[in-house]
């Protein structure tokens, strides 16, 4: 086959103030017709810049300074802008990450797709109309004629991404560039969209340049894989080879950093240090400073692009000819074992629960009209019961919008509880007054999802960490105010515990990376010595290697301090690695709960089964039957009658539409709510 897109030695330069940043440096790749090429890398490695360089959509400060980009034989970089406009959307189309932001909210979906067709084809109006209907059918949007006249806000996130894909496909492009197309979507929706892209590729034979950070998505989609690091391609190979035997130390580290059950009792591998600044010129390997297998050559000379097998190229000194014979440094697996507290299977352990939640309900009123009369309720949380023993981890799993974050906020008493009760050490939090609650606040704290919005940009780290201490121990802190050195030893100790040097306390949050900020947020929560830490998706905004650092930190803190975690997440791999118990939420209710491993191995509820099967796995050999869920979760303002899951359930029965199922138990702790297991039925 001939190469559709050929990039040779492309260098993209960005000018930021006085400095020049080499966002992409000497990148070469080839994509063949009908193939999916996955560009894999962590944030900041230049993968999006590569896509924008190909489309020639770089910001004003950026320019491609070297190399060539050829579509068949046509050099895109030398084309005049008018010819390029003809090309964009016609022969190369692009799908962006954020479906909410890529559609114009004041135009109907039909008008937006028609715009592409009018620009690139000579079809007349009826032809355009029929083509649009065909396109929406292709991306499996039901009732296409009606949907064309609707506005983007009437579509859900997954539907919007389908519309985006339909738009991209409108002019039958040869190459589709998909920049993190499913990152903003839930797993079950992600599975639908990935499926769709695969099917469309088979139908149309277009090539896909898939940009992603998710190894699972790569494993599902890619034919060829290119790994990018710090603006360079470090490894390029086929999917099979990559997953069997990643060659570059960075690729190996990426795999090692993935959490999974096998690594449960060990710390995850982390990549020390940070991505180097791209403004400097490199004398050696860019990864050398963070590589455990690096030796003197790595720092001294830039590694060449080595072919280690047919179709497998690596940029690493480990594989250069003259070095293979010489002694390589011994690869020492740096997996330090955490002496994990022996799993306490004692049942009396569970009797003294640290946190008990009984039938928690949080409803938000919907007000309408002039007098703001309550016309309905959004039942964000609708009867949730949980218990966490001291020092244990409960994972609360569910898709976005299922109410799991609201449960966390409800326990923290940050939102008003409609009904039910929360007991901490046997005391009902929901009945305490503000003053009394203040005294209890030190016992339970929260770590938020977004490290960028969880730290006040106008406060220094020391002030941020001290805030909790001051608010909760006023007498103590007043005393300490007199002696600054004593006051800050506590802050220093906390910073050290989360792995940051003590002198960072005089800096402002914007000087830190996402992972460092999350550490600071954890230090702030720990400052008041809590027994329970509610972690609200603490790693979902972070890269895999940084996620590994945070998970290691959380694990070692649990070990040292005996913390209990309520871990709110949608990432099953993290649950598998970290959690003792888990609970699966769907539309405000817990549908299945039990010991994490039992639930993951033998899921009973159809939703849990579908959720687990929809997750892309990195293990290529794993045989799995993927259960594709149809549709999207209904709105919590308008819940279905009977079992909430029945409109999407593959095993739906007549009774499911009428009665909410009661609890069925399997063993001592595993429970689910599904009519399939209801003995009465």
């Amino acid at each position: 086959m001939t190469a559709l897109l050929t990039i040779e030695g492309m260098t993209t330069r960005l000018r930021v103030g006085e400095r020049t940043i080499y966002a992409v440096d000497g990148l070469s790749l080839e994509i063949e017709c009908g193939q999916t090429f996955a560009l894999l890398g962590e944030s900041g490695c230049g993968k999006s810049m590569t896509a924008l360089s190909i489309m020639r959509l770089l910001p004003d400060a950026g320019e491609v300074t070297q190399g060539s980009v050829r579509l068949h034989a046509q050099d895109l970089l030398t084309l005049p802008e008018s010819a390029m406009r003809e090309l964009r959307g016609n022969r190369i189309a692009m799908v962006f990450q954020e479906p909410m932001l890529s559609l114009n909210p004041v135009m109907t979906v039909g008008a937006q797709i028609a715009e592409v067709l009018q620009r690139h084809t000579s079809m007349n109006k009826p032809a355009i109309q029929s083509r649009m209907i065909e396109l929406l059918q292709n991306v499996s949007i039901p009732d296409p004629a009606q949907r064309l006249t609707e506005y983007p806000f009437q579509f859900s996130g997954g539907m919007k991404q389908r519309v985006m894909i339909a738009m991209a496909l409108a002019a039958r492009p040869e190459l589709l560039i998909a920049d993190e197309p499913t990152t903003a979507l839930d797993v079950t929706i992600q599975a639908q969209v990935l499926d769709l892209m695969r099917v469309l590729q088979q139908q149309t034979g277009m090539a896909i340049l898939l940009i992603t950070h998710d190894l699972g998505v790569v494993a599902e989609m890619a034919h060829q894989i290119g790994v990018m690091y710090a603006g360079e391609m470090v490894e390029c190979t086929s999917r099979e080879k990559f997953f069997q035997q990643p060659a570059h130390p960075y690729s190996q580290k990426l795999f090692a950093a993935l959490p999974s059950r096998q690594k449960r009792d060990r710390a995850l591998a982390v990549i020390g240090g940070e991505i180097p600044a791209l403004s400097k010129s490199f004398t050696g390997c860019r990864f050398a400073d963070r590589c455990e297998q690096a030796w003197s050559v790595c720092h001294a000379s830039i590694p060449p692009w080595v072919k280690i097998a047919p179709g497998h190229q690596v940029r690493c000194h480990l594989y250069t000819a003259q070095n293979t014979s010489k002694t390589k440094p011994a690869v020492t697996p740096s997996e330090r074992i955490i002496a994990h507290s022996p799993h306490n299977n004692n049942t009396d352990h569970q009797n003294d629960a640290l946190l008990e939640v009984h039938d928690l309900k949080i409803h938000f009123p919907i007000r309408r009209g002039l007098l703001k009369r309550v016309t309905g309720h959004v039942k964000a949380v609708d009867g949730v019961s949980l218990r966490i023993a001291p020092g244990r981890t409960l994972a609360l799993v569910g898709e976005s919008g299922c109410g799991k974050t609201t449960v966390g906020k409800g326990i923290m008493q940050l939102v008003e509880i409609t009904a039910g009760s929360v007991y901490l050490n046997g005391e009902a939090l929901s009945e305490l007054r503000r003053k009394q609650l203040l005294a209890k606040r030190a016992l339970f704290q929260i770590v938020f999802q977004d490290p960028y919005s969880s730290l006040n940009p106008r406060m220094r780290i020391a002030e941020i960490i001290e805030e909790g201490i001051r608010a909760l121990q006023p007498a103590q802190s007043r005393q300490k105010n007199k002696d600054i050195s004593v006051r800050y030893t506590e802050v220093d100790a906390l910073l050290q515990q989360v792995g940051l040097p003590a002198d960072v306390k005089w800096r402002y949050p914007h000087e830190f990376s996402g992972g460092q900020r999350q550490r600071i947020a954890i230090a702030r929560a720990l400052a008041v010595n809590p027994q329970l830490l509610i972690c609200d998706e603490p790693t979902s905004a972070l890269d895999v290697s940084v996620q590994a650092q945070i998970l290691n930190l959380l694990k070692s803190l649990q070990h040292k301090r005996g913390l209990a975690y309520l871990f709110i997440t949608h990432n099953i791999a993290v649950v598998d690695y970290l959690a003792d118990e888990m609970a699966v939420m769907y539309l405000g209710r817990i549908v299945e709960s039990g010991p994490a491993q039992e639930v993951l191995d033998h899921p009973k509820h159809p939703y849990t089964q579908a959720l687990l099967s929809a997750i892309p796995v990195t293990d290529l050999d794993a045989k799995r039957d993927v259960i594709r869920l149809e549709g999207e979760p209904p709105s919590p303002a308008n819940t279905p009658t009977g079992c909430h899951f029945h409109p999407r359930c593959p095993h739906v029965m007549p009774i499911c539409r009428e009665v909410y199922p009661s609890t069925s138990r399997f063993g001592s702790a595993h429970a689910t709510r599904c009519h399939l297991y209801n003995s009465d039925f």
């Binding site: 900041g44 991505i275 730290l455 805030e467 909790g468």
Partner: protein, 501 residues
């Protein structure tokens, strides 16, 4: 003592404002996150040029703020008791004494030696002629104005401009010397880097603006001692003097009004957004109602009430100036009360957004009190909006004063302001030949003040606007997160490095 100091109400507030300004400058210098955007302001060429012009206006305004009553020359009868004049003067009045006291009979055109109106003059032989009489002061030194005037004006103007240029060269050398010492570089090197625009602060733009100002004012000063540079008004007073006196009123209205409106806007806006619910409803209805009342009507009613009060309590005021000043203050207050709604609305929106931020949720989780959350978390994060809005509002308020005074509900008629100047000249526009210079003077001065304020506001907004900032950072973000922090840390560390060297 040859004088007693007089502290008018607005003077006190202006001093307070100056003190606040100095205090906040010191505060900003100590806080890196506040210093960074201000440093960006100082890097904008247009902003710094505008600031240079503004600074001249501010200096004139401050000179006009130091008020006192001079001692009257001892009368032979009462030598024991000292008597002070009832006329309140300022430092500016002393400085501009010739302008203030050289009063002609009526209108005269700029740089003219004759009145603008024909009068019947008795000739030496007893006959009467109607002609334009000579001015008492303007061009009095000339024997034959027809032939000498032009040459005299030019030579004086050039001489003045020349001395202005020399003054500028001295100032520039002093500045370069100071900068060179501060950065420990050679004088010549510093000089070159300024004119090659390699300095961070656009000193060349500042110096060029300063040159323009000094040359212009040098020429004006040289001419003003023998001519009425901008002519005279109906009662023969110098228009240039009026224009210079108007600056203070403009500045006071622009700044004090903001000072008065700020507490309302800050407190109510943030409270509405933060507490929501009932408080939000009440505050929203209040400002919606207030902003639906035509503000001119409200101001007219309030000012007229004040006027009646002043007239019925004439004994409360020692001097005319005190009376006029109280009316000015009242105008500021009423303008402040009617103009807080816009900022309040903006702050409410921002507070609504901020209260959902996770760091505020985290503060709630720690049980931090509401007041502390507002003062430590919300206020510092809305200050950039407050700053931008107040600087932008300044020019609007200067114009508002002019309009209100024109309508007749502005400042006291005895107080010289741009509005009263425009009001006085409006009828004369219909005259043939037209008396254009009063309006022209007011226009030029107001234009310079408002334009420089707007340009400065623009650069402040650019420096503080988070969207402009994110645009630049976006470039880094998408390709390298580390870069952003490095840029910022460079910005933050460079002043320290500068000091160390």
């Amino acid at each position: 003592m040859p004088f007693i100091p007089v502290l008018l109400w607005t003077d006190a507030l202006v001093y307070l404002l100056v003190a606040t300004g100095i205090g906040s400058t010191i505060y900003v210098r100590r806080h890196a996150h506040l210093r960074a955007p201000w440093r960006r302001v100082t890097h904008s060429a247009s902003g710094m040029s505008a600031l240079t012009v503004l600074a001249c206006f501010i200096v004139i305004g401050l000179l006009d703020t130091v008020h006192f009553r001079p001692l009257l020359p001892d009368s032979p009868h009462q030598s024991v008791q000292k008597i002070y004049s009832t006329e309140v003067l300022s430092l500016l009045d002393v400085w501009l004494k010739p302008l203030r006291e050289q009063v002609e009979k009526t209108y005269s055109a700029p740089l003219s030696a004759h009145l603008y109106a024909k009068e019947t003059i008795e000739t030496a032989d007893g006959g009467q002629v109607r002609e334009f009489p000579r001015l008492i002061y303007g061009g009095a030194q000339l024997q034959d104005p027809e032939s000498e005037l032009l040459a005299d004006v030019w030579s004086r103007a050039l001489l003045g401009a020349g001395s202005g240029l020399i003054l500028w060269i001295v100032a520039m050398l002093a500045l370069v010397n100071w900068l060179a010492k501060r950065r420990a570089t050679a004088f010549a090197l510093m000089h070159r880097s300024i004119w090659q625009r390699t300095t961070e602060v656009p000193w060349n733009a500042i110096l060029l603006t300063l040159a323009l100002i000094l040359i212009l004012s040098g020429a004006m000063t040289a001419l003003a001692s023998h001519y009425h540079v901008l002519g005279t008004d109906k009662v023969g007073q110098d228009v240039l003097y009026h224009a210079l006196k108007s600056i203070r009123v403009g500045l006071v209205i622009g700044t004090l009004t903001t000072l008065i409106m700020l507490p309302f806007a800050l407190l109510l806006g943030v409270a509405a957004g933060y507490f929501r619910g009932f408080a939000d409803d009440v505050i929203q209805y209040t400002y919606t109602t207030l902003s639906s009342i035509p503000s001119v009507l409200l101001i007219a009613a309030a000012v007229l009430m004040m006027q009646v009060y002043i007239e019925t309590h004439a004994d409360l005021f020692e001097t005319v100036a005190a009376r006029a000043d109280l009316r000015l203050l009242f105008l500021c207050i009423i303008l402040g009360i009617t103009s807080w709604t816009g900022l309040c609305r903006l702050l409410r929106g921002e507070a609504l957004k901020l209260r959902e931020m996770e760091y505020i949720q985290a503060a709630h989780a720690f049980g931090v009190s509401h007041w502390r959350i507002i003062s430590r978390h919300i206020l510092p994060n809305v200050m950039h909006i407050v700053l931008i809005v107040t600087v932008m509002d300044f020019s609007g308020l200067v114009l508002a004063e002019a309009v209100l005074s024109y309508v007749g509900v502005g400042v006291d008629p005895s107080m010289i302001s741009f509005g009263t100047m425009i009001n006085a000249s409006r009828l004369e526009m219909a005259r043939e030949p037209m008396v254009w210079w009063t309006l022209f003077a007011a226009f030029i001065f107001m234009f310079a003040l408002v334009l420089s304020a707007n340009l400065f506001a623009d650069s402040v907004q650019n420096a503080f606007n988070p969207r402009v900032k994110t645009l630049q950072i976006n470039h880094d973000d998408s390709n390298e997160p580390g870069a952003e922090s490095q840029i910022d840390s460079q910005v933050l560390t460079s002043p320290k490095a500068e000091k160390r060297t």
